[in-house]
Symmetry: C2
Subunit: 249 residues, 2 copies
DNA sequence: GGTCGCTATTTTGCATTCATTTTTTGTCAT
DNA sequence: ATGACAAAAAATGAATGCAAAATAGCGACC
């Protein structure tokens, strides 16, 4: 059998800890719903190489189900932009061009920019304090050159801002686009330039400052620029090799 | 038979003039793809009442197909947020609460705000001229109190801005959210207050001005506020009865 | 040796069928 | 008449079957 899916031993994680509840009317109960969640995570985590064909038959065996619910899940994933369906030729992992990535980053930037704007209207002092906490934590990782920890704290900050926007629709859309990018991030192992790291820290401080003052328009601008800069770093990186862990300031 | 779908005589338009090509890997070819397009339009145009059940059987008869491709299309529509699927209870037209609408409007505002920002980077003088043209056209409708023409011109202006952003991902997302709102617009017959109309015209002039100067941040702000005001008018309107066609200035 | 053309196998798309759940209906007792 | 319970009917969720398309395999020919 000439499989295009690498056998990782773990045949698509079963329960998935209800990680990404995307509102989507309680799919979890039905079989196709669970398949959807599992397949989505599986694809997002980059377990299937870019552009690879995904034979239905094989997935059915791996998942232990028939083709009907699987095909339903595939249609949804295609609508989400994670895979693409070629007529009579089955599903392929959607290969994102550099242009696609640029577009995705810009949309993410727009959504975060919006989140910041809305957050200014609704965020509580406690939430700001929590974000400040995360910021200091992130700063610690920065000093210790702990890239992984830094990324995690960074991501939680951005998620906190989105959460503070009090808009489930926005949150869902954000999660959707984030998933598409994450797929690439996993496989490409995004790294940030040394210099960019310090810059990002400064930008984060400006974000916090604007957030404290509830300066909606300003925060919106700063967030957009911040994400735009991220985009630059990420896209550039696709061409060049990785760099070492950045030095402390 | 206690059908929840009103028999309009026209049983779900067949070809649909390829109106909304949502990138989504050429679905049109396959049967489920065409069903998807037809059903989406059918739902968006408000042919099925809010919250109504959508019996698979009946739709199959109307469309002359078996349940398999129909169910695939339903899953996608559910992922798009147009309908919701209750486990073992079939599909319902998703009923949007007032809160849902507010959220949707805000996301639309964010996307248009982003579109304006991006448009400033890429828009050509010719495109601006075209938008100015639409603006004057809209102004004509305004003077003639032609609400329908006004709305159409208005919509085309906003679509032009989105197009000028040169971002297909954004365009697709925008079309998706617009569809969800359009459903409501059709059934609720949104109307704008007299006073709001004049205001909107002024805002549109400010939009054009910022666009000409390629003032990205400023345009972003104006567009967001413009859509926010629209939201206010629309949401309010849900509670109150319609008003007559507004008077000329 | 490489390419074209034909056949066999695999794979996809959709219809059909089966099992389970829900909803309706019908009956009976209060 | 009304409510509760039970059985029938219908609808949904998933599996299987079948025709059409695509891919792979193979040999002939240039």
């Amino acid at each position: 059998m000439k499989s295009t899916i690498p056998d990782t031993g773990v045949p698509i994680a079963p329960p998935a800890t209800n990680g990404g509840d995307r509102q989507e009317s309680r799919h979890e109960a039905s079989l196709h719903g669970e398949i959807l969640l599992r397949l989505r995570d599986y694809v997002v985590e980059g377990n299937i190489p870019d552009g690879a064909r995904v034979p239905e038959r094989q997935l059915c065996e791996m998942l232990g189900i028939s083709r009907t619910p699987l095909r339903e899940a595939l249609k949804v994933l295609a609508a989400e932009g994670l895979i693409e369906l070629l007529p009579n030729r089955g599903a392929r992992i959607r290969q994102l061009s550099q242009r696609d990535l640029e577009e995705l980053f810009d949309v993410m930037a727009g959504l975060e920019s919006l989140a910041g704007r809305l957050a200014c209207e609704a965020i509580t002092d406690e939430e700001i304090t929590a974000i400040e906490q995360l910021h200091y934590e992130m700063y610690g990782h920065y000093l210790r050159r702990d890239m992984h920890g830094y990324f995690q704290a960074n991501q939680r900050i951005h998620e906190s801002i989105v959460a503070a926007a009090r808009n489930e629709t926005l949150k869902t859309a954000y999660a959707n686009f984030a998933g598409r990018i994450r797929r690439v991030r996993y496989s490409a192992n995004f790294a940030r330039k040394r210099q960019r790291w310090a810059e990002a820290m400064r930008e984060h401080e400006a974000i916090l400052d604007a957030l404290r003052r509830r300066a909606a328009s300003e925060l919106s601008d700063i967030l957009f620029q911040h994400l735009r800069n991220k985009r630059m770093a990420a896209i550039e990186h696709l061409a060049e090799p990785e760099e070492d862990a950045p030095a402390a300031p």
